[in-house]
């Protein structure tokens, strides 16, 4: 077992443990903090995959924006669900069985594919070639200029919709 495998396994274990804490803790504030650990673990997996841009974007967008937004929402609604009351519904036993069965089905099915155990070597790219290709792809009309612009319109619509939905109309 070489160094890269040890690094991958330690990051993967941290990520999976943090994800389990996110879905099982009663205190939602602690769950949100464990979500940040899980997102950091995913960012390190992205870095291991050679997608350094996405590791940075993961930290900026998920930890910098989405996790903070979730923590704000938890604090705004905090006193309504006390930490003592049960946080899960009655189906949790069934859900555990379902999830474990689906996991084994997925793994047994994808392990029949020939590329399953293909080792991922370091990419033969010089410098930041992949980020340059992504940037050019986003703005070239033959590439992905239209999806990119559509995504910006989607973000604007989500921003306006979020403000409009959360606005307190009864006080005005």
């Amino acid at each position: 077992m070489n160094v890269q495998q040890v690094i991958f396994i330690s990051f993967a274990l941290v990520t999976v443990f943090a994800a389990i804490m996110v879905v099982s803790l009663r205190n939602l504030f602690h769950a949100a903090l464990w979500l940040i650990v899980a997102l950091l673990g995913v960012a390190s997996i992205f870095a291991l995959l050679g997608a350094s841009f996405f590791a940075a974007v993961q930290i900026l967008v998920y930890i910098g924006a989405i996790a903070i937004l979730l923590i704000f929402a938890v604090m705004l609604t905090r006193n309504i669900m006390s930490d003592e009351t049960t946080q899960t519904n009655r189906a949790w036993g069934l859900a555990v069985i379902l999830v474990v069965v689906i996991f084994f089905i997925i793994v047994s099915q994808i392990s029949t594919w020939s590329g399953f155990s293909q080792p991922l070597t370091d990419l033969p790219l010089s410098g930041q070639e992949s980020i340059l290709a992504l940037g050019k792809g986003f703005v070239s009309p033959n590439g992905f200029a239209l999806p990119f612009e559509t995504a910006s319109v989607l973000l604007l619509a989500a921003l306006l919709g979020g403000v409009y939905i959360a606005m307190d109309r009864e006080k005005e």
Binding site: V23, A38, F72, I80, F103, I106, P119, L120, L155
Partner: protein
């Protein structure tokens, strides 16, 4: 070397933990946290296959990276609108339990 299968199994585990959170949690903010975990697992899968294809073909596969970026953009929009909806429901009903949001129930 880390093989592709390790990434796929990690992504499957993370996705199913997210599914478990979405199924069992009563608090709607916790359900959104489960959805975030699922979106992250999908992104691990997309970038693992991006690496695989780039490695096999020797040229950068731009489509895979664009796909991952669009997933992140959609996740940001989903979180913003979802939390605004939860705040709005909380203001009207003083509850964020998903099972009690049944105004539209016939």
């Amino acid at each position: 070397m880390v093989s592709l299968s390790w990434y796929l199994i990690l992504a499957a585990a993370l996705f199913l933990i997210g599914v478990y959170g979405v199924i069992v949690r009563r608090n709607s903010i916790a359900i959104l946290m489960g959805v975030e975990l699922m979106l992250n697992a999908v992104n691990i899968n997309i970038l693992a296959f991006w690496h695989y294809h780039t490695q096999l073909n020797g040229v950068v596969n731009v489509s895979g990276m664009v796909f991952a970026a669009i997933v992140i953009i959609a996740a940001a929009a989903e979180a913003a609108v979802g939390l605004a909806l939860i705040i709005s429901v909380f203001r009207r009903k003083n509850s964020i339990v998903a099972a009690e949001m049944n105004v539209l129930k016939g």
